[in-house]
């Protein structure tokens, strides 16, 4: 990729605007996310969640989803915050904010499809992380949720070019990143990296956004990048992809990401991948429901 292309990507991505009401919640939220948990003020989080009625309602709906596994359904925002724990509340809030943050008119990719994949990947990464005994499963959730923000950047900043790439991916049943590179000369990894840097996201998230299709190129947080890479593949194989048939197969244990993940997570070899897959199938319906709830009924956006 030439220096000119990189400049062009940065220039166009810098013009991406979020809808005005949302950043008021999102900016302090990002700050909270980067704080050590003992320094976070619970009342502040409750205030943030309650700031916007629709966001609060969406958070409550998510907190009540079986996917978040609470035995008792919280009745109020503060009860939900206490029951879920701070980090999980933050990731739920982030999910709702992200879903609402962008004007979704005329996207080449159906926003419901995009968010279904992102939320699916978030859920898979969190569960994957829990099952292999990794310490920070909420971080895995956030990384999964944000890994494809480059697609969002492409929909907004490169609408024509990206529509061609997506058309080609559909027609030839190719992985999306391959079709992007073949059509545009770059993929959502580059545009995503530009957007993530512009938003000043944590370095580990930038690594995930930039390298989730080529884990070997990650310069840090390799374990997290590998986890998201595998979670992404699994979602695309189980009806949480980009809405078309990818003519491909995935051999997870032969994937270089598997070996990278194993360096730090000894529990990986005990994972029953088949069962994990079947459990994911059981969550697809609920993930779709949550996304429809966040984005509103089709056509209303």
């Amino acid at each position: 990729m030439s220096a000119g292309t990189v400049l062009n990507i940065r220039e166009r991505v810098s013009h991406i605007e979020t809808t005005p009401a949302i950043p008021a919640v999102m900016v302090p939220l990002m700050k909270v996310l980067n704080q050590p948990s003992e320094e976070v003020d619970i009342d502040e989080v409750v205030r943030l969640v309650s700031y916007d009625n629709s966001i609060a309602a969406q958070c409550m709906r998510m907190a009540n989803s079986p996917l978040f596994g609470l035995s008792q359904q919280p009745k109020s925002v503060s009860a939900a915050v206490v029951a879920l724990g701070l980090h999980r509340v933050e990731s739920i809030l982030l999910t709702c904010c992200m879903g609402n943050a962008f004007p979704v008119k005329n996207w080449a990719l159906d926003p419901l499809t995009f968010w279904r994949h992102s939320l699916g990947c978030a859920m898979v990464c969190r569960k994957f992380s829990e099952q292999i005994g990794s310490k920070d499963s909420e971080k895995a959730y956030v990384a999964g949720l944000l890994h494809d923000i480059g697609i969002l950047a492409n929909c907004i900043a490169f609408p024509g070019e990206f529509a061609c790439a997506l058309g080609r991916a559909h027609e030839e049943q190719l992985p999306l990143d391959d079709a992007e590179v073949a059509t545009m000369g770059f993929s959502h990894c580059e545009t995503g990296q530009a957007l993530a840097e512009q938003w000043k996201l944590a370095d580990e998230i930038i690594q995930v956004v930039a390298h989730h299709h080529d884990v070997a190129r990650a310069t840090s947080s390799r374990s997290l990048v590998a986890l998201v890479h595998l979670g992404d593949l699994l979602c695309r194989m189980r009806d949480l992809g980009y809405g078309y048939y990818e003519r491909t197969k995935v051999d997870m244990i032969s994937d270089p990401a598997w070996a990278i993940l194993k360096e730090e997570n000894r529990g990986l070899d005990r994972l029953d991948i088949a069962r994990f897959t079947f459990e994911l199938d059981g969550a697809v319906g609920e993930i779709s429901d949550l996304v429809s709830m966040i984005l509103g009924p089709p056509g209303s956006a």
Binding site: P66, Q173, L233, L234, R236, M237, R238, D239, G241, Y245, E246, R247, T248, K249, V250, D251, M252, I253, S254, D272, I273, A274, R275, T277, F278, E279, D281, G282, A283, V284, G285, E286
Partner: protein, 302 residues
Amino acid sequence: MTPVTQTAGPPIRTARRGEPVDPVFLQIRDLVYKVSGIYQPEEKLYLLVDGCGRRIKQLGTRGPREYWDLLTSNPSRDGELRQLLNELTIGETCLFRSPAQIEALKKVILPELIADKTRQVMKKLRIWSAGCSTGEEPYTLAMILLEEAEGQLKGWQFDIVATDLNDRSVEAAKLGTYGDYGLRNTTDYFKRKYFVAADGGKTQIRPEVKKLVTFSRLNLTDDSKMLFMKGMDLICCCNVLIYFDGASKTRVINHFFNNLNFGGYFFLGTSESLLNLNAQFHLIHFPGAIGYWKPSLTGAKP
């Protein structure tokens, strides 16, 4: 024995998505998975609830908790698990049962096998339907290959071996007549092209499909006979391994592995897994389906 009562306890709720289920059914699901490799995901949990409900009614057990005791304590345990697995898998079979496996075969596996074998100058495919029941699976495979023979498999030879333990199933399979239920997934295109009307409102598979399939009776634990099933490119064995336990299950799976060519594939039922009983097989994800792969000799991915 639990005394037989007229009313079988409180009614068992049929779980649809989002409805709460008695947690004991989740325990039963785990138990079923552990012994059989068959998993009922949330959305299909009602099948498990319904299946247990039928067994509870037949036995006159008072409810799911008492039924759990039957499933976990001697001497009822083994027999009842077998009965429940029968309930869960019965009547599942039909032509074109697993669309995602069929797509994976057409779009990923066949192109890979074709590329592999073309290098070896061998234009021949050998496929085995193990536990073929009344022929639905092997005939589906035969029709798919006939369709592909007009495209990517032009000029190829293929032979489909279909075996079952049950003589009567094998005889019925050879006849190849099906009712509406067996044909519920078969499109009009395939019905017109590969079937003819038969007696009693049934539909029969055409001779040109039949001649691709060789049926025979085979016990999968018969070691000496299993040694003669070599050279397979694809083996399908759907909801059959549930009938074996412990050591014999491992032995049967090892036979399958040995009988596959390097680079060949193994399919189970759509919600069935090998439970890591053979570490040499690689679990492969295709869109909407999982399968197992015997790595090619070089160990490299094709």
